[in-house]
C-alpha cells in the first residue's frame, strides 16, 4: 500500500508540474487583465492537436515541435485579445469577458471537432511507453521530460516577470492599473502580450497532455474545471500559488485514484468548496476573493 501511495505521489508531482504551467498562464491573465480565460482548457487541447498534427503529418518530434507551436499559440492569444477582449468596456466588462472567452472556446472546440472528429487520439512517438526505474519506481520518460519542460518554462516566465523591464510593467499593471497608466506604461500592450504569453504556455501544456492522455475536442471542459479550481485554491493572480496548488491537487487526485478512480476528480470541487467556505483568499493568496 505504502508503495502504491508513493508511486501515486511521484506521478502526481510530475503531472502537477505540467498543470502548473497551464495554471500559470491562466492566473497571469487574470492578474493583469482581470479576466478568467474560460477558453484556456480548449486552447490546451488546440495545442495538443497542433503537436499531434505536426507529429503525424510532418513527423516532427512533439518536443521539438514546440518551437513551432509555442509561437503559433502566442500569435493566437494576441489575436484573441485584439479581436475580442480589448474591445469590451464598461461596467459589465468582467462578466462579459468571461462569456466572450467561453464563446471563443466553443468556436475553437467546434472547429476542432470539424477537423479531427470525435474519436480520441494520442500523440504516440516511440518513447511514449518507455519508462525508467528510479529507486524501485517506474516513471515514464514522457512524464520526466514533461516535468523538466514545465520547470524550465515556469522558470522562463518567472525570469520574464521578475528580471525584465516588461515583467516590471506587468507587475505594475497587476498592482494598480491606473497608476501604471499614469507612469507611462502602455497597459493595452502589456495586456495583449500577457494574454499571448498566457496562451503560449498552453502549447507546451497541451503537448505533454497529448502525450500522457488520449484526448478529443471535448477534453477541454475537464481541463478548465481543474485549472479553475487550481487557480482559486492558489489565490487568483498569484503565480506561486498556482504552482503550489497544481502540485498539491494533482498529487491528491493521484492518491485518491488508488481507491476511487471514478470520484477522484471530485477532490478539486471538494477542495474548492472547503477553501471558499473557510478561507476565501485561497490557500496561498493574500487578496480576498470575496472583496473583488
Amino acid at each position: 500500500m505504502a508503495r502504491e501511495i508513493t508511486q501515486a505521489i511521484v506521478d502526481g508531482v510530475l503531472i502537477g508540474g505540467v498543470y502548473a504551467l497551464m495554471a500559470v498562464g491562466l492566473t497571469l491573465i487574470f492578474g493583469v487583465l482581470d479576466i478568467i480565460n474560460i477558453a484556456q482548457g480548449v486552447l490546451v487541447i488546440l495545442g495538443a492537436y497542433l503537436s499531434y498534427s505536426l507529429f503525424t503529418k510532418a513527423h516532427i518530434d512533439p518536443f521539438i515541435g514546440l518551437l513551432i507551436t509555442i509561437p503559433a499559440m502566442f500569435v493566437i492569444g494576441v489575436f484573441i485579445h485584439w479581436a475580442f477582449i480589448s474591445r469590451l468596456r464598461g461596467t459589465e466588462r468582467t462578466s462579459m469577458t468571461l462569456l466572450v472567452t467561453y464563446a471563443v472556446g466553443l468556436i475553437i472546440e467546434g472547429i476542432l471537432f470539424k477537423i479531427y472528429g470525435a474519436d480520441d487520439v494520442q500523440i504516440n512517438p516511440r518513447y511514449v511507453n518507455s519508462s525508467v526505474r528510479i529507486f524501485g519506481f517506474y516513471v515514464g520518460w514522457v512524464y520526466i521530460w514533461g516535468f523538466i519542460l514545465a520547470v524550465v518554462l515556469v522558470a522562463v516566465v518567472y525570469a520574464l516577470l521578475y528580471r525584465t523591464r516588461f515583467g516590471r510593467s506587468v507587475r505594475a499593471v497587476m498592482q494598480d492599473e491606473t497608476a501604471a497608466r499614469l507612469v507611462g506604461i502602455s497597459v493595452n500592450k502589456v495586456a495583449a502580450l500577457t494574454f499571448g504569453i498566457g496562451v503560449a504556455v498552453t502549447a507546451a501544456g497541451g503537448e505533454v497532455f497529448g502525450l500522457t492522455n488520449a484526448f478529443n475536442a471535448n477534453s477541454g471542459y475537464d481541463l478548465i474545471s481543474r485549472l479553475l479550481s487550481i487557480i482559486i485554491l492558489g489565490g487568483m493572480g498569484s503565480v506561486g500559488g498556482a504552482l503550489g496548488a497544481s502540485v498539491f491537487m494533482l498529487t491528491l487526485e493521484s492518491v485518491v485514484t488508488i481507491w476511487q478512480p471514478n470520484w477522484a476528480v471530485a477532490v478539486y470541487y471538494a477542495a474548492l468548496v472547503i477553501v471558499l467556505v473557510y478561507r476565501p483568499t485561497g490557500l496561498f493568496g493574500r487578496k480576498a476573493v470575496r472583496a473583488q
Partner: protein, 369 residues
C-alpha cells in the same frame, strides 16, 4: 420606460395611455398566437419547435429572475435542469409510475430544484463576480460527475422515461400546452418579482451590494430567495423536457451548451428585462434546431454558430434587442430631442438616454417591458 416629465415634447398622458393600450393589445395577440399555434400548424416537426422554444423561454426567464436582477451570472443553471430531469426519471422508475400520473411529480421536481439551490447558493453566493461564475461551473461539473457515477442514475446511458400511450400525430400538443403554461408562469413570476420590493432589493444588490447591505437589505437572504425560485422553475421544466425527449443522459441533462445558450438568449434579448429573455429564446432556440436539421451543417457547426452569434451580440449589441430597440423608438418619437430634460444643469447633461442607466435597465420602471 424613461420617466416622463411634464415638459416633454410628446404629451405624456396620451403617449402613456397609447403605450399601455398597445402593450395590452400586443400581449393579447401574443397569447392568442401562442394558444392557437399547435391547432393551426399541426405538423409534429413544427410543434416540436414550439415545445422546445417554450421550454427555453421558461428557462431563460427563470435565469433572468436571478442573474438578470442581481448581476450574478450563473453558468450552472443546468444543475437544476438536469436534476429536475433526473428526479423525475428516478421517481417514475422507482415508484413504478405510468401514464399521465407522472405529471403530478412536477411539483416534487421543483422542490428538488429548490432543495439543491439552497446549499448551492449558500456556498456560491458567498463570493462575487468571477469567483461566483467559476463556482457555478464547478458545481455544474460535480453534478455531471454524480450523474455519471452514482448507482441510481443509470451511468453514462442515463434514464428512460416510461412510455406515454399518446397518438404520435398529436403527441407534442399536450407538451406544448404544459410548456406554454410554464413559460407564462415563469414570465409572470419574473414580472411580479420585478414590480415588488423584493425585485428592487435584488436590483439594488446588482448596482452596489455593499451599499444595499448598508441600507438594510438582507443581501444573502434576498439573493438566495431569487436563486431558489429560479432553480425550482428550471428543475420543473427540466422534468417536462425529460418526459418530452423520453430520455436523459449525463451530457444532455448537464450540458455546458445549455448554460451558454441561456446566457446568449438573455443577452441577445435584453439582460434584466422581462420580454428580453422571451424574445431571445424565441430567436435562438428555433434557429439552433433548424441549423441542426441542415445536413450541410452537420456536427459541430451549430456550436460554432452559437459561439459566433454570441460574440457578435456581446461586441456590438451588449445591451440586447429590447433596450437598444426601446431607445431607438424613443429617439424617433422625440425626434432626436432629449426625452428627459436634465433636472439640473450642474454636471454632465444627459445627452443620450444611455448615460443615467449605463448599468442596466432603470430601477424606476415598474411595468413589463
Amino acid at each position: 420606460m424613461t420617466p416622463v416629465s411634464p415638459v416633454t415634447p410628446v404629451s405624456p398622458v396620451t403617449s402613456k395611455r397609447l403605450g399601455t393600450t398597445a402593450k395590452g393589445g400586443g400581449l393579447v395577440l401574443l397569447a392568442a398566437i401562442a394558444v392557437l399555434f399547435p391547432q393551426v400548424l399541426t405538423n409534429p416537426s413544427v410543434t416540436n419547435y414550439g415545445v422546445l422554444a417554450l421550454i427555453y423561454v421558461t428557462c431563460a426567464s427563470a435565469w433572468n429572475i436571478f442573474s438578470g436582477n442581481t448581476g450574478y451570472i450563473s453558468i450552472g443553471q443546468a444543475v437544476f435542469y438536469g436534476s429536475g430531469a433526473y428526479a423525475m426519471g428516478i421517481a417514475a422508475r422507482d415508484w413504478h409510475m405510468e401514464g399521465t400520473a407522472v405529471f403530478w411529480l412536477l411539483p416534487l421536481c421543483g422542490a428538488v430544484g429548490a432543495i439543491i439551490a439552497v446549499p448551492f447558493g449558500l456556498i456560491a453566493l458567498r463570493v462575487r463576480r468571477h469567483t461566483f461564475i467559476v463556482i457555478t461551473i464547478a458545481v455544474f461539473f460535480i453534478f455531471q460527475l454524480m450523474a455519471f457515477n452514482f448507482w441510481f442514475t443509470g451511468g453514462s446511458s442515463g434514464l428512460n422515461s416510461p412510455f406515454l400511450s399518446w397518438p404520435a400525430a398529436t403527441y407534442n400538443t399536450p407538451f406544448y400546452y404544459i410548456a406554454l403554461a410554464y413559460a407564462a408562469g415563469s414570465v409572470l413570476i419574473a414580472w411580479l418579482v420585478r414590480r415588488s420590493r423584493f425585485g428592487l432589493q435584488l436590483r439594488a444588490i446588482r448596482d452596489d451590494e455593499d451599499r444595499a447591505r448598508g441600507l438594510g437589505v438582507k443581501a444573502m437572504r434576498v439573493k438566495l430567495g431569487a436563486f431558489t425560485i429560479s432553480g425550482a422553475i428550471t428543475a420543473m421544466i427540466g422534468a417536462v423536457w425529460f418526459y418530452y425527449l423520453n430520455q436523459v443522459e449525463p451530457q444532455t441533462g448537464f450540458n455546458p451548451l445549455f448554460d451558454l445558450a441561456l446566457v446568449l438568449m438573455v443577452f441577445l434579448g435584453g439582460y434584466g428585462s422581462i420580454s428580453g429573455p422571451v424574445l431571445g429564446a424565441l430567436i435562438i432556440e428555433p434557429l439552433t434546431l433548424w441549423l441542426n436539421t441542415q445536413p450541410a451543417l452537420s456536427g459541430s457547426v451549430s456550436e460554432i454558430m452559437l459561439g459566433a452569434v454570441f460574440l457578435l451580440v456581446v461586441l456590438f449589441m451588449p445591451r440586447g434587442i429590447i433596450p437598444t430597440g426601446g431607445e431607438f423608438i424613443t429617439k424617433i418619437r422625440t425626434r432626436g430631442r432629449p426625452a428627459v430634460i436634465p433636472a439640473t444643469t450642474i454636471g454632465p447633461a444627459s445627452s443620450g438616454p444611455t448615460t443615467p442607466f449605463s448599468s442596466g435597465p432603470p430601477v424606476s420602471s415598474g411595468g413589463a417591458r
